[in-house]
């Protein structure tokens, strides 16, 4: 196989050289972390590019949510969803958040398949600077997908009569989508490391996905709900992502201290909601740490 190459060249290629990678002890591992995260992210995008069906389905689905739910409530009395809020306007934030949430919830599946096929061993025997790079890569990937989906939803909603938030509003929506995707992606990856197989993971995704949708304010405001559901919806992180976006859709003049969300107990300002989402992310990232560190038997 190597007839064409001189044996001295073979020798130089195959000779051990412990210093080929920068010495891991003295090297600031941030560079390493970025390098491995980018490489893992790139793999996910190559997969997406060569198997684009996930992306296509991911764009068609929220579009159908918008059209179907929009039609379902199209004859609702005007003003039912708040003064000056058409159902299209009401629905768009719910679909944005729910779509990002579903995508993030599924983030663990590719990792689970990597585990089952043994590809993950490749990553685990490598001197990764941190196994959070696996989480980071998935997050970057899901974020990118979610942003594409969000853009499509915002655009489609605008056509369906929801209007278009301003530039600051769009940036705020991006921030909120990022925060919800980060936490849920990390959670899903934690499950992918902890559960025994993809069947179990799919089961968990299945029993979480729709209930969390219905126990949030995505499709109907809190005031429509039974008291017990109001309590659950007020604890549901999805609600904390949906309500500020909805406020942005309804009010051109929103600010960091606008009260964007009412719960049975008290109102939350835009800033507080962001803090809640940050706390949610921090909690999950901490919780999955032992799962990542664990060596796989």
């Amino acid at each position: 196989m190597s007839q064409s190459i001189s044996s001295s060249k073979i020798k130089s290629v195959l000779t051990p050289n412990p210093s080929i990678s920068k010495n891991s002890e003295q090297n600031s591992s941030l560079g390493d972390f970025i390098q491995e995260t980018l490489a893992l992210t790139q793999r996910l995008f190559i997969q997406l590019q060569r198997r684009p069906s996930t992306l296509i389905a991911g764009i068609i689905q929220p579009f159908m949510w918008l059209v179907l739910f929009g039609a379902l409530f199209s004859k609702a009395p005007s003003g039912l969803f708040g003064t000056d809020l058409s159902y299209a306007k009401f629905l768009a934030p719910g679909v944005i958040v729910f779509t990002a949430f579903s995508g993030a919830l599924n983030a663990g599946l590719p990792v689970m398949f990597d585990r089952e096929f043994g590809f993950l061993n490749r990553l685990l025997v490598a001197p990764l600077s941190s196994r959070y790079s696996i989480v980071a890569a998935s997050t970057v990937y899901i974020i990118a997908l979610s942003f594409i989906q969000t853009a499509v939803i915002i655009f489609a909603s605008a056509i369906l009569g929801a209007g278009l938030p301003g530039l600051a509003g769009l940036s705020a929506i991006a921030l909120i989508v990022f925060l919800i995707v980060l936490g849920v992606t990390a959670l899903s990856l934690g499950l992918a490391f902890a559960l025994p197989g993809h069947i179990e993971l799919i089961a968990v995704i299945f029993v979480t996905n729709l209930p969390l949708l219905f126990a949030s304010t995505a499709l109907a405001p809190l005031s429509f709900m039974a008291d017990w559901l109001q309590v659950i919806a007020s604890l549901n992180p999805l609600t904390y992502a949906i309500e500020p976006i909805r406020y942005i859709y309804g009010h051109g003049d929103w600010a960091i201290n606008s009260i964007v969300m009412d719960t049975p107990w008290f109102g939350f300002s835009f800033g507080t909601v962001i803090l809640v989402l940050l706390a949610f992310d921090a909690l999950i990232l901490l919780a999955i740490q032992p799962l990542l560190r664990r060596r796989f038997a």
């Binding site: 195959l14 790139q42 190559i46 060569r50 685990l124 796989f296 038997a297």
Partner: protein
């Protein structure tokens, strides 16, 4: 100089299965070390502990003097690992996989392209590098895995049964390559259940059986330690039981014959252990002729590694292999592994 790999009193159980009961061996820098054992002996379990994929229940593991348990990251940097089961990402091309691998080992960006190209050339992958891995044959996949394992120029390359399921030609390619690798100064640890493979490649080996080491040393040493020569005798192509018994009886009375075993599976051929010496064959033929038994074939050889295994366990590796593969529940193991 510290050993390239040191494993001492390693133990690892899965549930109530003791996969590794007590394994110790030392690999010296620059040698090819073979870990020989039948199916289920504990080879993969040992290798997984060495490569920091599973945590041993007890024991010491060091690579170049560094503990795999205390400093797993440093050990990962020093090892290249070629797993028993190749796990390709079918969607990527070979080159893309190598690029990923290079980043995981933090190769400096500016040398990655060259380094990948060098390995592609050395492993003869030019024709395949830009094709999707899903289209590769088993032999090409193994070569890609070798390239991936060597990208970061590790001190030790660990290969778990690298030639299982490969055709003879691909197997020869791997053998030759490992010899080149040793010539270049890389230490190689290879597991196998093929005697010929370990015999042909290994400078030293350990034979393991049911989670313990039953012999360690140079192939020639282990064989010499057994002493005597092996003689295989066929009276006829297929010998009747009576004739085989009769021959056994006569041969056992010869002074230089130590043991006679009738191998029913091989058409009642006779396996003899004799004292080393030149004239055994003619004396055997002569004493058979005296009782009017013919000789269909007769051959004398030095003991093989299989004889070493046979002497320690009472069965050949092939028999152990067949017995073990019929009792293992691979699905259950896979499940256990995921826990």
């Amino acid at each position: 100089m510290s050993a390239a790999v040191l494993i001492e009193n390693l133990q690892k159980s899965y549930g109530d299965v003791q996969a590794v009961k007590n394994i110790s061996f030392t690999v010296q820098p620059g040698e090819i070390f073979g870990l020989l054992g039948p199916n289920g002996a504990g080879k993969t379990t040992t290798i997984r502990c060495l490569c920091t994929l599973s945590k041993p229940d007890a024991g010491k593991i060091e690579v170049g003097g560094v503990s795999a348990i205390a400093l797993p990251k440093a050990v990962r940097q020093r090892l290249g690992y070629v797993a028993q089961e190749v796990a390709p990402d079918k969607v990527l091309t070979g080159r893309e996989l190598l690029k990923l691998q290079a980043a995981l080992y933090h190769l400096p960006q500016k040398i990655i392209g060259d380094r990948i190209q060098q390995l592609i050339e050395v492993l003869g992958l030019e024709e395949y590098a830009n094709k999707k891995i899903g289209t590769y044959s088993g032999g090409i996949l193994k070569r890609l895995d070798l390239a991936a394992g060597l990208l970061h120029q590790p001190e030790v390359l660990v290969l778990d049964e690298p030639t299982v399921g490969l055709d003879i030609e691909s197997r020869m390619v791997v053998w030759e390559f490992l010899q080149e690798l040793r010539a270049a100064g890389t230490t190689v640890l290879i597991t196998s259940h093929y005697l010929e493979e370990i015999d042909a490649l290994a400078d030293r080996l350990a034979i393991i059986d049911r989670g313990v080491v039953i012999a360690e040393g140079k192939p020639s040493e282990l064989k010499d330690k057994l002493g005597g020569d092996r003689v295989t005798l066929r009276i006829r192509e297929f010998t009747s039981d009576e004739e085989a018994d009769k021959a056994k009886h006569i041969l056992e009375s010869l002074p230089f014959v130590e043991e006679v075993i009738i191998n029913a599976v091989q058409g009642n051929s006779l396996n003899l252990i004799v004292k080393s010496g030149q004239s055994s064959l003619s004396k055997i033929e002569q004493s058979l002729a005296e009782v009017e038994l013919p000789t269909f074939s007769l051959a004398q050889s030095r003991p093989s590694l299989d004889d070493v295994y046979l002497a320690a366990t009472g069965q050949t590796i092939m028999d152990a292999q067949i017995a073990a593969s019929s009792t293992r529940d691979l699905k259950k193991e896979k499940k256990q592994q995921m826990k």
